[in-house]
Amino acid sequence: MIDHHDSPGDEFEEIASLLTELTPDDIDLLDPPDELWDLIEAEVSDTPRAEQPLAPVVSLDARRRFPARTLMVGAVAAVAVLVVGFALGTRPAEGPTVVASAELTYDPANFDPLGSDAQAEVVLVDDGGTLRIDLEQSSLPRPADEDADLELWLIEPDADGNPAELVSLGLVDPDRPGDFAVPATTDPSVFSVVDISVEPRDGVPTHSGRSILRGSLTKA
């Protein structure tokens, strides 16, 4: 149908095809119920807002085009900024030291709605040369589906902010988040984004693409 109109070019092909498909239902909108605004207003006045989210993510649509392993987690644009030179060589000999931290936040446009009220902060701790992630001050949901778990990941963003590589740090018990060892082969200045996802118990070890929280490590 579109070629019928001397098409203005491929760059508008998608929009042109949507335009030709429009139905009256797409155009004529319904008024929301009168009480809806009051409900929204009441809810936002009760809820403190999440602070400073960090890592933006790629859209769900883009994510679907790629296999889980490479893209599922979405882009982590701007993470390039995050040149976190964890000065591991100069660590003090005594006790565990916090070398970086991240606030994990929810992205309503791209994440699984399970995370909508979730919050967490993580710190990267250097304990005598062994690194671990401590999940602290977290408020994590329990997956509604009893056949699913939460899982903690470290993500290496590529130059465009897309996940280049992922490492699982293990399953997270929402009630007892705890500590997670970072494998000696994983450099957190490279794997600089922390992600928590919902993982169905389906035997598939890769990221499900259903993140609930994410944030970038920044040097302490």
Binding site: D26, D28, L29, P32, P33, L36, L60, P108
Partner: protein, 208 residues
């Protein structure tokens, strides 16, 4: 503003394009409306008082209507509420320089609706013989959302662009037929269509 899907009436009953063609060379795209919308979106990202209300006034019908297309009345109300509340809580993530608020909110709604469908499916799987359950399809949810955004963008276009785009894509006329109907030069029809499509595309942009 109402759009119609019927084939456009013949020129005799459509005096506007003619009237506009006289003054069209002095016509500057009225950006005021868009600028005001953008200012409201910046206020939203900043968390200004009343910015959520403005966003709801501007996009509440769109979001609610979209939800109603995919789920029942009650769920549509709940999901619309969730969309605005979660968008407000996460407004730091909205970057007005990179995308439009309507498209961002629709993305949130899409996410919620897809999740709703998935959970309905899980329930349906558990009662396998219940064939009375009507379940939307995820790809339909996507496509309907895209179409509704395009329709909104079309409504917001300056009249001269909107007219030629409606004639071309809804009226299914060729550029030559549009030129004849509107008494505009063919080159103007072509360039107005391109510019109109570019406006629409801008309205569809979302945060990266």
């Amino acid at each position: 503003m109402t759009l119609t899907l019927q084939r456009p009436e013949p020129l005799a009953q459509r005096p506007e394009p003619l009237a506009r063609s006289i003054s069209r060379y002095a016509f500057v795209v009225p950006t005021t409306g868009l600028d005001m919308a953008e200012a409201a979106e910046i206020a939203f990202a900043r968390g200004d008082d009343d910015a959520l209300r403005s966003a709801y006034d501007a996009h509440g019908s769109l979001i609610y209507s979209y939800c109603r297309r995919s789920v029942g009345d009650d769920r549509a109300k709940d999901i619309t509420q969730e969309v605005f509340v979660s968008a407000w809580k996460a407004r730091d993530r909205f970057d007005p320089s990179k995308g439009r608020l309507g498209a961002w909110l629709m993305g949130i709604a899409k996410n919620r609706l897809v999740d709703n469908v998935r959970s309905e499916k899980r329930h349906a799987d558990r009662r396998a013989n219940d064939d009375t359950v009507e379940i939307g399809v995820e790809s339909d949810i996507d496509r309907v959302g895209d179409r509704m955004l395009v329709a909104e963008a079309l409504k917001s276009l300056p009249d001269n662009y909107r007219t030629v785009i409606e004639l071309a894509y809804i009226g299914d006329l060729t550029h030559t037929q549009i030129a004849e109907q509107t008494s505009l030069p063919l080159g103007t029809v072509k360039s107005d269509i391109r510019r109109g499509l570019a406006h629409i595309r801008k309205q569809l942009a979302v945060n990266p």
